[in-house]
Symmetry: C2
Subunit: 479 residues, 2 copies
């Protein structure tokens, strides 16, 4: 118990300092370590295994919609980055430049990809000739680099892992349809796998991706009331196609420009999982994404039969399709409980000599800490039920928290006060003018998170300037 205390004391409480709590969880749950490379992190096995599960789930969903994986070079020659004007303005200030190859200076410097639109466009310009070549539905899993000044594990680092989908279509309707399809896929993944509800909507022109015609986003609310952009999907129209000359001959043998999209999700999602579900004992992983769903912890493990039974239960549950481990180290049970909690393992099973006798075990949920005695005959069913219920409860809890921290304002003073005192989303009307977005950011540090698909009319007037309102906007302070 002394040990247990020590482990829990090792993390700052959320209420005391949320940022420090986050950093503590990331370290103590052994998700990452800092590296000697400034602004970059080492993703440790417990963190990488979450990413592998995210990849598996997303990749299967992508492929079900016809997407194929490819791999583009990691370097972009400077002249290629400069082809599309808005795009280079958006990214050039934050890229890493390679200037020498081996012992020789390069004739033209190259950046490490911050995103690969330019590479895909360069490829599509040669690759696409006819309407028969369309659509092209490509995706790649890779790492990208953006030279951030201040960094935080998973949320903002100079190098991060992601997937970037890049598609090309014959018409604007098709590219718009694919953009929305992928946003919906992302939202569904977040809700059903990560137990994380999101607001789907469109970014304002000020917040959209460099070079996009429209950017759609899913916005999640973290435990501290800050917003996190959790996935974006962009419709480029034919802007990139015109800059790069990506044309196809249509059925009437006429040359047409393609219409393109791109869409991405990143290791940032791991940060979202931590900040949506975590508590003062550490990480809490939704069962569907947890690399280990069940930790079996033997009690009085030196007593006859305890370790054997633990191993047998593990095999039984593995066979039934659960991801399960036994902690048979020589630490105390209390220490093992704390460790499994810190790592966010959804269920723990306790089994000791008395349980053996009674042919039962104890199941404890990570989120509620509810203890249930379960007959070993019913173990598989009860474990499946517990995991399923926990997954659903986590989503409901996150939704309730999000809803309880979503406010409405129709007057600027009230709007300011809410943003100042009530962490969360504030819904308010907007005239569509960038000047109002800038003023709001100056006054409150909040930004427009999105114009939700689910539009309401709270008032006739813009919250900021009082002119005619055009859109309902979710506002919030963001990571």
């Amino acid at each position: 118990m002394a040990n247990e205390k020590k482990l829990v004391e090792a993390i700052t409480s959320m209420e005391e300092d949320f940022a420090q709590w986050y950093t503590d969880v990331v370290k103590k749950a052994e998700l990452i370590d800092y590296s000697s490379v400034k602004g970059c992190m080492v993703i440790k096995p417990a963190g990488y295994a979450i990413w592998e599960n995210i990849q598996k789930e997303l990749d299967t969903r992508f492929k079900a919609t016809g997407v194929e994986n490819v791999y583009m070079p990691m370097f972009i020659p400077e002249s290629l980055l400069q082809v599309e004007k808005d795009h280079v303005e958006g990214f050039a200030p934050e890229v890493a430049w390679v200037t020498h190859g081996g012992l020789e200076p390069l004739q033209e410097r190259m950046c490490v990809r911050p995103t690969s639109e330019t590479l895909f466009c360069d490829f599509y310009a040669k690759d696409i000739q006819s309407h028969r070549d369309l659509p092209r539905l490509y995706n790649q899993w890779c790492s990208v680099v953006r030279w951030e000044k201040t960094t935080r594990p998973f949320l903002r680092s100079r190098e991060f892992l992601w997937q970037e989908g890049h598609t090309a279509h014959a018409t604007e309707e098709e590219s718009e349809e694919r953009t929305i399809q992928m946003l919906n896929l992302y939202a569904d993944f977040c809700e059903s796998v990560l137990a994380m509800p999101v607001i789907k909507g469109k970014k304002t022109d000020k917040e959209k991706f460099a070079g996009a015609e429209s950017t759609y986003t899913i916005e999640a609310l973290m435990h501290d009331g800050k917003a996190l952009q959790s996935g974006t999907s962009h419709n480029f129209g034919d802007g990139f196609a015109k800059a790069f000359g990506i044309q196809y001959t249509d059925k009437e043998n006429k040359l047409q420009y393609v219409h393109q999209t791109s869409w991405g999700m990143t290791t940032r999602l791991i940060g979202a999982i931590i900040m949506v579900h975590g508590d003062n004992s550490g990480l809490v992983l939704p069962p569907r994404i947890a690399p280990t769903q069940i930790m079996i912890i033997p009690i009085q493990q030196k007593k006859e039969g305890v370790l054997e039974k633990s191993a047998a239960l593990k095999e039984q549950l593995l066979k039934a399709g659960f991801r399960v481990k036994v902690d048979d180290t020589d630490k105390s049970p209390g220490w093992k409980f704390s460790e499994a909690e810190m790592r966010g393992i959804p269920l723990r099973i306790e089994i000791g000599p008395k349980d053996l006798e009674a042919k039962q075990c104890v199941i404890v949920r990570r989120d509620t800490r509810e203890k249930v005695i379960v007959s070993l005959d019913e173990l598989e069913t009860k474990v499946a039920e517990a995991l399923e219920t926990m997954q659903g409860d986590m989503l409901e809890r996150a939704r309730a928290h999000r809803d309880a921290h979503t406010y409405e304002a129709t007057e600027y003073e009230e709007f300011n006060k809410l943003l100042d005192t009530k962490p969360g989303f504030v819904k308010a009307m907007w005239c569509g003018d960038e000047a109002c977005e800038l003023k709001i950011k100056d006054d409150t540090t909040a930004t427009s998170r999105c114009m939700p698909f689910n539009q309401e009319k709270l008032s006739e007037k813009c919250i900021c300037c009082g002119k005619e309102a055009k859109k309902l906007v979710y506002w919030g302070k963001a990571y």
Copy 2:
């Protein structure tokens, strides 16, 4: 048929120009495309899907031995690269240097990882404290960069994809055991999945990895008689541990240095598959690695029921666990045959109106082009048999080719003549002196491929200098 001819004519024959044949297959089978980034390639869906299957197979095998995946930064600060003397000498001349981040010059330049020993060592130095922390069995899947002067798709490119395992152990015995374990895993993977026999052995000091105590290798023989190093496994002893200060306290509470290994396989394997199995109609993929194992090609597809039956057979075979597609495009059957052959798809199934009537179809193996009429009642069994037999036959054929092109020499003149006129491996004795390796390379352009585990004594004397022989060596010209 005119079309069919055109597709086949599009590739140079192996006998005429093997290098051009290789390039043609790589392009026409749509595995890669060249990119605007010199020396880097675009891996297209057909190529990347092979890599995904290689990843899946290897990753499962790694994990079964206790290996966990992690992710290290892609940059190495110059001072970190320089910590181990041999290592920096080996790699510094061929790395890409990042000198600017955003608009500012970096205080210290960094290279893009050519391999990650230094990053893992830097991490292990903080991460490992006690004997309880050992072994550490980490692996990462990523891309690396080596600034090659001349490049060829898959075989040698400035950026390539790979996995690099990096382990740390308490003792030299354990690190040696892991080094050999991974080499055996690689060899078994090549034989049983890629149908590619390999020679397992140790590299000479001249050929070993920069910083390693010993390097083990698997060497495969390509169709043109050239050798291809297909995977390597290195034992570092405590060399890196001493340079980086990676120490642990043992059970007696004494500080000890760890012993390390690293081991890697790359997208080069795709090049090996092409050059071991390909023919003058294109790629030939071993069934176990083929992204599409079966292509169903409808004959007279406008006739009633043909397309429906093709789709039904596809569903039936998918359900039975095969990877299968239907080519229902409006191309001619002959063109479709050629395309499926160019892409190396192991089996094609032809089904037309007459087959429908007779409740049968035609199965054609890619390697032998043998046509078999199969009753639809037995389809699944026959398909499984054909794929299984083909996998075995491909390995046997490759082994027979390798054996038929492996020679022995005991006199230097004979040795020179063999290397000059008979493409393949030449087995010959060696005194252990680097001077002889250098002379042989000067005289023949061949290098020592490995000292095979399977040692024989062909003579008492070194093939080159005539002094006492210490080892049997496989010599050959290599990619």
